[in-house]
C-alpha cells in the first residue's frame, strides 16, 4: 500500500539463531487455559445448582482437616518441583530428577489420603444422593483424575534420559510437566476455598 511506510524487515542471520523452545510452553499454557475453564464451568454448575435452595449442602458443613492436609501435600509437591526446575536450569540434572520423583511421591500420597477422606468423611453422601453429592463428587474426582494424569506425566518425564531435560531440548519436558502440575495444585486451592471453606463461613454467618 503506497500510503504506508515500508519498514525493511530485520536483517538477522537465521543460521545463528538458537533452537526454539517456546512452542511447548505456549501450548501448555493454552491447555491450562482450557482445563481451567472446564473447572470454572464445574464451579459455575456448583453455584447454579445451589442457587435458591434453602439448605442445599449438608446438615453439617464439610470438615476442614482433610482438605487442608491435602492442600499442604500438594503445595509442598509444587515447591519441591519448582526447586527441581531451578536445578535443571542450572544443569544439575540429578537433583532435578530426585525432586521430580519426590513430587510424584507426594502426588500419590494425595491420592491415598483423598481415598481415606472419601471413606471417612463422606460415607453418608454418594453421587446419587442428591445434586450436591453429584457435583461434589464430580468436581473432586475430576481433580483426582487430573492428579493421576499429572503423576503419570511426571513419572514419564522422570524416566527420560537427561538429554530430554537438556537446555537445548526444543520441547523442555521438565518445564512443561511442572507447569501442568502447578496448575493441578492450584485447582485444589480453589476447591478448598469454594467447596470447603466458604460453606463453613456461610454456616457460621447463618447465610445458606
Amino acid at each position: 500500500m503506497s500510503s504506508l511506510v515500508q519498514i525493511p524487515p530485520p536483517a538477522t542471520k537465521l543460521a545463528l539463531l538458537p533452537i526454539d523452545q517456546g512452542r511447548g510452553l505456549g501450548a501448555v499454557w493454552a491447555v491450562i487455559a482450557t482445563e481451567a475453564t472446564l473447572f470454572v464451568c464445574m464451579f459455575g454448575a456448583y453455584y447454579y445448582l445451589g442457587n435458591n435452595k434453602d439448605r442445599w449442602a449438608l446438615q453439617q458443613p464439610p470438615h476442614l482437616v482433610y482438605p487442608f492436609v491435602l492442600l499442604a501435600v500438594l503445595l509442598s509437591s509444587s515447591v519441591v518441583l519448582h526447586w527441581g526446575e531451578r536445578q535443571v536450569e542450572k544443569e544439575r540434572y540429578r537433583a532435578g530428577r530426585i525432586a521430580l520423583w519426590f513430587s510424584v511421591l507426594l502426588g500419590l500420597t494425595f491420592l491415598v489420603l483423598q481415598g481415606f477422606e472419601y471413606a471417612s468423611e463422606w460415607s453418608d453422601l454418594t453421587p446419587d444422593s442428591n445434586s450436591y453429592g453429584s457435583i461434589f463428587y464430580t468436581i473432586t474426582s475430576l481433580h483426582g483424575a487430573h492428579v493421576i494424569v499429572g503423576v503419570l506425566i511426571l513419572m514419564y518425564v522422570g524416566c527420560q534420559p537427561f538429554y530430554g531435560f537438556a537446555r537445548r531440548s526444543p520441547h523442555m519436558p521438565y518445564q512443561v510437566a511442572s507447569r501442568y502440575w502447578h496448575f493441578v495444585d492450584a485447582v485444589w486451592v480453589f476447591i478448598v476455598a469454594l467447596l470447603y471453606v466458604i460453606p463453613n463461613i456461610q454456616r457460621h454467618l447463618h447465610v445458606h
Binding site: P8, L14, A30, C41, G44, Y48
Partner: protein, 625 residues
Amino acid sequence: MAELAIESQLTDLWETPKTIRGWFATVDHKELGMRYLVTAFLFLIIGGLESLLVRLQLVHSNMNLLSGEAYDQIFTLHGVTMIFWYASPILSGFAIFLIPLMIGARDMAFPRLNAFTYWTFLLSGVFLYISPFFRQAPHAGWFAYVPYTLPAYSPGLGMDFYALALIFLGISTTGAAINFIVTILRLRAPGMAISRMPLFLYSTLTISFVVVFAMPALTAACVFLELDRHWGTHFFTVPDGGSTFLWQQLFWFFGHPWVYVIFLPATGMISLIIPVFSRRPIVGYAYIAVSTILTGVVGFAVWLHHMFTVGMSDLAMSIFSAGSMTISIFTAIQVFAWLATIWKGRPVATTSMYYAVSSVILLVVGGLSGVFTGVIPVDWQVHNTYYVVAHIHYVLIGGNVFPVFAGLYFWLPKMTGRMMNEKLGKLSFWVMFIGFNVAFFPMHILGLMGMPRRIYTYAAGLGFDTWNLVVTIGAFVFGLGILISIVNLFVSLRSGVLAGRNPWNADGLEWLTDSPPKAYAFAHIPVVASRHPLWDDYENLDDPENDRVLDQGRLTPTTTWLDAVPVGIATIPEDSLAPLFMSLTMFGIFVAFAFHWMWAVLAMLILTFAIGCIWMWPNTRKEVL
C-alpha cells in the same frame, strides 16, 4: 550452492514417501488440510442429503414418508453434522492448508498434533454415524435439551452417542485451536508484524481463543448428561435438586461463541478475496481486525438470548439483548469495509467474487433477522418457529457455505494446480443463490404464520402447504447447484487449465509458492515488509548468501509474536504413525464407553498413554543439534 541442489536437498528432507505407511503417517499440513476439506465436504453432502429427506417429509401436509421418530433422528443428525462436523472443520481445513503458506512457514507449530486432530475429527464423525446403524441416532435436535434427553424419555444409545461424540470432537477442535494459536503467534515470517498479518489470521486466531474458552462448557454439559443417564447423578433431575436450565446455560455458553467459530474465519476469507478482485487493498484493515477480535470477546456475553423464553429477570434479559445488538455493530463495520473496498476498487466478476459478494448480501439478511430476534418481545413471538430456522440458515449458509465456495474457487487452483471452469462455476453460483433464497426466504413467512420448527408433519388447511412446497423445491435446486460445483471440481482435476503460481495476481505469500506447493513450500524463507508482499516493490526473495534456506534439517524460523523479529529456529518433527494409533485407541475408548465395556475402557486408556509415551520420547539424534 546452486538453486537446484538446494531444492533437491529440501525435497529429501520434507517430502513424505508415496507409500501406504507414508499416507497414514504424513504430518504435511498441505496433505492434512486437503483431507480436512474433503472429509468436511463429505459431511456436508451427508448432512445435505438428510435435509432433503426432511424436506420431502414436509413437502405436503400429513405426509407419511418418515415416522415421527425417524424424522427426529434425521433432522438431529442433519443439524449436528452440519454444525459440528462440517462448518468448523471445513474452515480448519482452509486454515491448516493456507496458514503456514500465508505466514511463510514450512509447517504448523505442531505437525503431529495436526495429524492427530485430523484423525480424531474423522473418527469422531465415524463414531457419531455408528448410531444410525442401530436405528438409535440422537433425536433431540442439535442442542439436546434435558429432560427430554434423560433416559426416561430417550432410552437407547442415541443421546449417549451424541454426548460422547461431542466430547471426542471437542478434543480434536481444542487441539487444532492450540495449534493455530502457537503457529500464528510464533511461526510468522521475519517482518510479518501483527499489523501486517492477513486478516484471515486475525479471525482464525480469534476463534482459536474462543474454542479454548468455550469448548469446556460443552464438555462439562455432555459429561453431566452421561453421568445423569448412566451413573445415577442428579444434575438435571429437579426433584433431587438438579436443574434443567443448567444444561441450557452450559450449552449456550458454549453454543453462541461457537456460532462465531463457524462464521468469523469465513469473514476472514471474504476479507482476503474481495480486495484481490477489487484490485486494491482492503479498506479499514485495522477496523476489521479489531471488530473481529471484539466479536469473539462479546460473543461470550450474549448466550442468554437463546433462552429468553425460559423466564429470567428483566435485567438479565436486557443486558443480553443489548449485548446481542452490540455484536451487529462489529459485523456491520466489516460489511461496510467490504462495500467500500468494492466501491473504491475496480471489481472483477469472477465466480469467487460472486460467492463472496452474495455471502455479504445473505449475511445482511440473516443479520437483520438476528437483530429482530434479539428484541425480546419479537423473540417471544417467533421463538421455536420457522423464522428462527430461516435466520440460522441465512447466517450459516450466507456466513459459511457461500464464503467456503468463494474460498474453494479462489484457493483450489493453489491446492490442485488447475483452474476451475468459470462458466460452470457461475452456473453453479446462480443455481445455488436462487435455490437458497427460494428455499429459505419463505421460512420467514412460515415462521410468522406460526409454523413451529421440528414438527414431522402438519395438518392441512393451515395455509402451510404452498410455502412448504416452495421451500422443498428450493432445497433441491440448492442441492443441484452444489452438485454442479462438484462436477466442476472433477472436470478441473482432469482437464483444468494449469494455474501457475499466482493466477489471480493476489497479494498473499501463499501465491509465492508453486501450485500445488512443494513439500517445503519456500526454498528461501520469505521476509515481509508490508501487508501485501506480492503487490509491493520491496524485494523479499533476494537471498544471495542462502542465509534463509535452513536445510540442515526440518527447520523453520520462529519470531516474536508482536513484531516478528526472528528469535529461534523451530525443529519440525518427521512423519509418524503415533497420531493415527492414538486416535484409534481413543476411538476405542469412546466405543467401549457407549456400550459400557468398562474393562475395555481401562485397557484402551492404558494403550493411549503408552502410545503417547512412544510419541513424545526425546530423540537425541534429531533434537539436540
